[in-house]
C-alpha cells in the first residue's frame, strides 16, 4: 500500500500505484479542497505542492511519491499563503470559487519563487490554471497586491 505524506501527516492508502494522487487525496484521505476539473493536467484545479513545487495531482500517481512532501490547500500555511488568501478575500477574487484552490496554490508557489512578479511572470505561471468565470483580471491584481504586502 503506497504511503503518502500529506500536510505533514503520513497516510497508508488502499489504492493501486497508478491511481492519480487527486483521487487518493479526495476519496481515500477525504480532503476535498483539491478539485477535479479535467483529469488531463489541462486546467489546474487539482494543483497541489510536491516539495513546494506546484503540480497537477490528476496526472501524478501515488506509487511515485515515496518521500515526497505533499501539500494541499488545507495544509497551506506561512506568510505567503496567509497573505494571498487575505488579498483574495479583500479583493473578492473568487466568483464560483471552484478553480480557486488551484489558483491560490499556483499563486503561492509563484510568489515564493518570484517575490515581485511582472504581469508576464503572472501570465506564465498561471496560464495553466483555467477560470471559467474569468476572474483573471482580479487574480492578476491579487498577485501584485500580495507581493506589495509581503514586501512591506
Amino acid at each position: 500500500m503506497p504511503k503518502l505524506n500529506i500536510n505533514g501527516v503520513d497516510h497508508q492508502v488502499d489504492g493501486p500505484a497508478d491511481m492519480p494522487l487527486l483521487w487518493a487525496i479526495r476519496d481515500l484521505v477525504g480532503l476535498t479542497g483539491t478539485k477535479f476539473g479535467c483529469g488531463q493536467a489541462l486546467c489546474g484545479a487539482c494543483t497541489v505542492h510536491l516539495d513546494g513545487y506546484p503540480t497537477r495531482s490528476c496526472q501524478t500517481f501515488i506509487g511515485d511519491l515515496e518521500g515526497v512532501k505533499i501539500t494541499t490547500i488545507e495544509g497551506l500555511d506561512g506568510k505567503v499563503a496567509e497573505t494571498v488568501q487575505q488579498v483574495w478575500t479583500d479583493l473578492d477574487v473568487p466568483q464560483c470559487g471552484y478553480c480557486q484552490s488551484g489558483q491560490v496554490m499556483a499563486a503561492v508557489a509563484l510568489l515564493t519563487e518570484t517575490p515581485k512578479p511582472s504581469d508576464e511572470d503572472i501570465d506564465a505561471a498561471l496560464d495553466g490554471n483555467l477560470c471559467r468565470c474569468a476572474t483573471y483580471h482580479r487574480i492578476r491584481a491579487g498577485v501584485h497586491e500580495a507581493a506589495r504586502r509581503l514586501e512591506a
Partner: protein, 736 residues
C-alpha cells in the same frame, strides 16, 4: 414575454413541495426566529405553535438562531455570480445583523414564496439575470419584518417603546442602556404576532445597498478549500458512478459486456440506465478504471449523424430562402432595399459552444428507509427537477427532498429543462436497487460531449443606404435550432418565433425606418441549451459587427452613427458615450493600436464595450477593455464590476477560440480543454468597468457583460485589417 410561459409551466411546476420537510429541520433549531411570507404577510415560528396553527404551507426567507447566526434562505441559485451575496445584502439592509454572522442556503418550495416574479412567479428558477429583480422587495421585507419582531421583543422585555430601540451589527439597543444580541431575542420574537405592514427604508437611508466596500460573505471559504460543492458531498456508504454515454446524440445502448469490469477491485456494479451505462465504484478512480473495461455496442438508428459542416451547409441554404416566421416588421424592408442607392450584405456563422464549467456535472441521490428520496446538486430549476426526479423514481413528488448545492460555474448548464444529470443520478441509484447513496460524477469528456450547447446559427443581414449614406432598410434572417421547443419553456415560442433565438435582433434599438427580422428554425438532433446571455450571444455580434461594416461603407464614424440612430434609446446611448469617453475614443492611439466598440441591451441591462487591440503576425492581442453598464439601481457595485469583468472574459474567450464541432458521423470532436479552449489569463486584457448611476429598478448583470465584447473586438480588427470577421471563432474567421 416571460409571463407568457406561465400556462406552459404551470402543470410541471404545480408539484407540491418538500418545504414541510425543510420546516421540520428549521423548527428543530429551538429558539430560532423564522420569517417568511405566505398568504398572510409574515409568519414567525419558534416553538412551532405558530407554524402548526398556520393554515397555509409555511415557508421562510431567513432564520435567526439563538447564537445570532442569520441564515438567508435563497430562492435564487448561486453559480458564482453572487446572487446569494446580493440577497444577503437586501436582507441585512433592513435587518441590521452582524455581516460576519450571515450565511446563505439555497431553498426550494412554495411558489408563492420562491416563484421567480420576473417569470410571472409560476416557476422557481434562476435565469435571465433576474435574481436581484425578483428578490429586491421580498428579501428587504423579510429583513425588515425580522427586525420589527426583534425590536418588539426587546421592547416588551425592557418595557420600553419599540420605536426607540435600534438594531445594528446584530445588537438591539436602547439609549438608556439595555442591549441584547439578536440571538438572545430570537425565541421571544418568534412568539409575537406578525406586523401587518412592513415599511422599508428610503433610498437615502441605505447603507449596504450601493456600498462598494461591502465584501462578499463567501470569499474566504473559496480561498481555503472549505466551500463545498456537489463533488464534495460525502455520505456514509456512498458509491461513485461514472457514465458511458452514447457517442452520438440520440443513440441508445444495444448491448454491453461488463464481465471484466465487474471483476475489478473497487467496482461494485455496472448497470444500464435509459441514458447509458453506469459504472459504480467504491470511489471515483475505481469507477473510472472499471469504465475502461466495459464494452458497449450502440443502436444508432435514431442518432444524429450529420457533421457540423453538413449542418451548417443546410443552414446556409435555408438562410437564402424566405424566413419561416417573422419576428419584427416595420415599414417595407424589401421595397426600401430595392430603392436603395447602395446595399451591404454579410452572412455570419456561429458555432456550437460548450458551457465547460469548471465543475463537471454531477449529482447525488439517496433513497431513505422512510421512502424519502434525497437529491444533492446544482438545482437551478428545483421545482421542475423535483417532479422529474419523482417520475424517474416512480414515487410521489412530496417524497423528494432537494439539497441545493453551490456550484462550480453554470453559465446555463445547470438549468437544463429536462433535469439531465439530476435525473440520471436517480436512475443510477434505482438501477442498483437503492442499495447505497450514489454520486454520479461526469468526467470532463462526459461534460464536453454531453450536448446542451449554445446552438450553432447562421445569420444573413442586408442593409440599404440612401444617397446621403443613411440606413433606410435592414433585413435580418436568423437560422438555427430552437432552445425551448419541446421543453416546459416552449411558451417562449410565439407565432413560430422562439424568442430566445431572436432576442437582441428583434428589439434592435436603432432608428431605421424599414426593418424585417425573420427566423427559420431547424431540426437537429444535437440538444441545445441556454448559454450565458442566450440569444444575445449571437445577435449582438451579428448586429453590431454588421452595423460597423455598414458605417464603414457609408463613411461614418461608428460612434457618431450609433448615437444618431439611438436618439429614442437614451440608456443605450448613455452607456455607449460613457465607455467611449473613458476609453478615449476620440484620442489618437499609439501606432499599431486600434479600437472597436459595441453596445447591447440584454435582460433589461445596458452594456457598452470599447476594446483596444493590436495585430501581430495575423493574431490579435486585446490590450484594454473599457465597459460601461446601466443595470438600474445597483445593490452590490463590486459584484456588478466583477460580473462585467468576468462576462467580458467569458465573451472574449468564445469569440477568440471556442467552438464545439461534430465530426464525420456526428461524433463530437472536442473532449477536454486541449481542444475546447476557453480564455486563459495570458489572453485576458485589462478591464475597466464604469457603472452609470441610476434610480431605475434593479436589473441583472450575470449575463449582460457577455454580448458586446465580441463585436467590439471584431470591429477593432476590421479597422486594423479592413476585413470583417464573419465566421466565429476568430481562429477560424481569420482564415476564411
Amino acid at each position: 414575454m416571460l409571463p407568457k410561459i406561465i400556462e406552459h409551466l404551470a402543470p410541471a411546476a404545480s408539484v407540491e413541495t418538500t418545504r414541510r420537510g425543510f420546516l421540520m429541520t428549521a423548527g428543530a433549531a429551538a429558539g430560532a426566529l423564522v420569517v417568511g411570507f405566505g398568504s398572510s404577510p409574515v409568519r414567525a415560528a419558534g416553538a412551532g405553535a405558530a407554524a402548526a396553527a398556520a393554515p397555509e404551507p409555511f415557508d421562510a426567507y431567513l432564520k435567526i438562531a439563538d447564537d445570532g447566526t442569520v441564515t438567508v434562505l435563497s430562492s435564487q441559485f448561486d453559480m458564482g455570480q453572487g446572487s446569494y451575496n446580493g440577497l444577503a445584502t437586501l436582507v441585512n439592509e433592513e435587518l441590521g445583523a452582524d455581516w460576519s454572522k450571515i450565511t446563505v442556503e439555497g431553498a426550494t418550495g412554495d411558489l408563492k414564496l420562491y416563484g421567480n416574479l420576473s417569470w410571472g412567479g409560476a416557476v422557481q428558477g434562476t435565469g435571465g439575470s433576474s435574481s436581484i429583480t425578483t428578490s429586491f422587495d421580498r428579501y428587504r421585507k423579510a429583513g425588515a419584518a425580522a427586525r420589527m419582531l426583534l425590536t418588539e421583543a426587546a421592547a416588551k422585555e425592557w418595557n420600553l417603546p419599540a420605536s426607540e430601540i435600534t438594531a445594528k451589527d446584530g445588537v438591539l439597543r436602547h439609549a438608556s442602556g439595555p442591549s441584547a444580541g439578536f440571538g438572545e431575542m430570537a425565541a421571544k420574537a418568534a412568539q409575537l404576532p406578525v406586523p401587518k405592514t412592513i415599511p422599508l427604508k428610503g433610498r437615502d437611508d441605505w447603507s449596504l445597498i450601493g456600498n462598494a466596500d461591502l465584501r462578499r460573505y463567501d470569499s474566504r471559504a473559496k480561498t481555503d478549500g472549505t466551500h463545498d460543492f456537489t463533488i464534495d458531498v460525502n455520505l456514509p456508504g456512498m458509491l461513485t458512478a461514472v457514465m458511458i454515454h452514447p457517442p452520438k446524440f440520440g443513440a441508445v445502448v444495444k448491448s454491453f459486456d461488463a464481465s471484466k469490469a465487474k471483476a475489478m477491485k473497487g467496482v461494485v456494479d455496472v448497470v444500464e440506465t435509459p441514458r447509458g451505462i453506469a459504472v459504480v465504484g467504491e470511489h471515483m478512480w475505481a469507477a473510472l478504471a472499471g469504465r475502461d473495461a466495459v464494452a458497449v455496442t450502440w443502436d444508432e438508428t435514431k442518432a444524429e449523424t450529420r457533421s457540423s459542416a453538413q449542418i451548417m451547409a443546410g443552414y446556409h441554404k435555408a438562410v437564402e430562402q424566405a424566413p419561416q416566421a417573422v419576428a419584427r416588421t416595420q415599414g417595407d424592408a424589401a421595397k426600401a432595399l430595392a430603392g436603395a442607392v447602395k446595399t451591404v450584405e454579410a452572412t455570419f456563422d456561429f458555432p456550437y459552444l460548450a458551457h465547460a464549467a469548471m465543475e463537471p456535472l454531477n449529482a447525488v441521490a439517496r433513497m431513505n428507509a422512510d421512502g424519502t428520496l434525497e437529491i444533492w446538486g446544482g438545482l437551478q430549476l428545483p421545482g421542475l427537477y423535483q417532479g422529474m426526479v419523482a417520475k424517474a423514481a416512480g414515487i410521489d413528488p412530496t417524497k423528494v427532498v432537494s439539497h441545493i448545492m453551490k456550484t462550480g460555474g453554470g453559465f446555463g448548464r445547470r438549468g437544463t429543462p429536462d433535469g439531465d444529470v439530476i435525473v440520471e443520478a436517480v436512475m443510477v441509484a434505482k438501477a442498483i436497487g437503492y442499495k447505497a447513496p450514489v454520486k454520479v460524477q461526469w468526467t470532463r469528456e462526459n461534460d464536453m460531449r454531453g450536448g446542451r450547447y449554445r446552438p450553432a446559427y447562421v445569420h444573413k443581414l442586408t442593409a440599404g443606404l440612401d444617397s446621403d449614406g443613411n440606413i433606410v432598410a435592414w433585413k435580418h434572417h436568423i437560422v438555427g435550432q430552437s432552445i425551448v421547443a419541446g421543453t416546459p419553456f416552449q411558451g417562449l415560442i410565439q407565432n413560430g418565433v422562439d424568442q430566445t433565438s431572436v432576442e437582441g435582433a428583434s428589439n434592435l434599438p436603432y432608428a431605421i425606418p424599414n426593418m424585417q427580422v425573420g427566423l427559420t428554425t431547424m431540426k437537429v438532433g444535437v440538444p441545445p441549451l441556454w448559454w450565458r446571455a442566450v440569444g444575445s450571444t449571437h445577435t449582438a455580434y451579428a448586429t453590431e459587427a454588421f452595423l460597423d461594416q455598414v458605417a464603414a461603407e457609408a463613411g461614418k464614424d461608428p460612434l457618431a452613427l450609433r448615437l444618431a440612430l439611438l436618439k429614442d434609446h437614451p440608456r443605450h446611448a448613455a452607456v455607449l458615450k460613457l465607455a467611449a469617453e473613458k476609453a478615449g475614443w476620440d484620442k489618437k492611439l499609439p501606432e499599431g493600436r486600434f479600437m472597436g466598440l459595441a453596445v447591447h441591451e440584454s435582460f433589461h441591462s445596458y452594456v457598452a464595450h470599447v476594446a483596444e487591440i493590436s495585430m501581430k503576425g495575423g493574431e490579435v492581442k486585446v490590450h484594454r477593455v473599457v465597459a460601461a453598464v446601466d443595470c438600474g439601481t445597483v445593490v452590490n457595485p463590486d459584484t456588478v464590476k466583477a460580473q462585467i469583468e468576468g462576462g467580458t472574459g467569458f465573451g472574449l474567450g468564445a469569440m477568440l477560440a471556442e467552438e464545439l464541432t461534430l465530426g464525420t458521423g456526428g461524433v463530437v470532436d472536442q473532449g477536454n480543454y486541449d481542444t475546447y479552449t476557453p480564455l486563459r489569463i495570458s489572453a485576458m486584457p485589462k478591464v475597466e468597468v464604469h457603472i452609470l448611476p441610476s434610480t431605475e429598478p434593479p436589473t441583472g448583470v450575470g449575463e449582460p457583460g457577455v454580448p458586446s465584447i465580441g463585436p467590439a473586438v471584431a470591429n477593432a480588427i476590421r479597422r486594423a485589417t479592413g476585413k470583417p470577421i464573419t465566421t466565429l471563432p476568430l481562429t477560424r474567421g481569420m482564415q476564411s
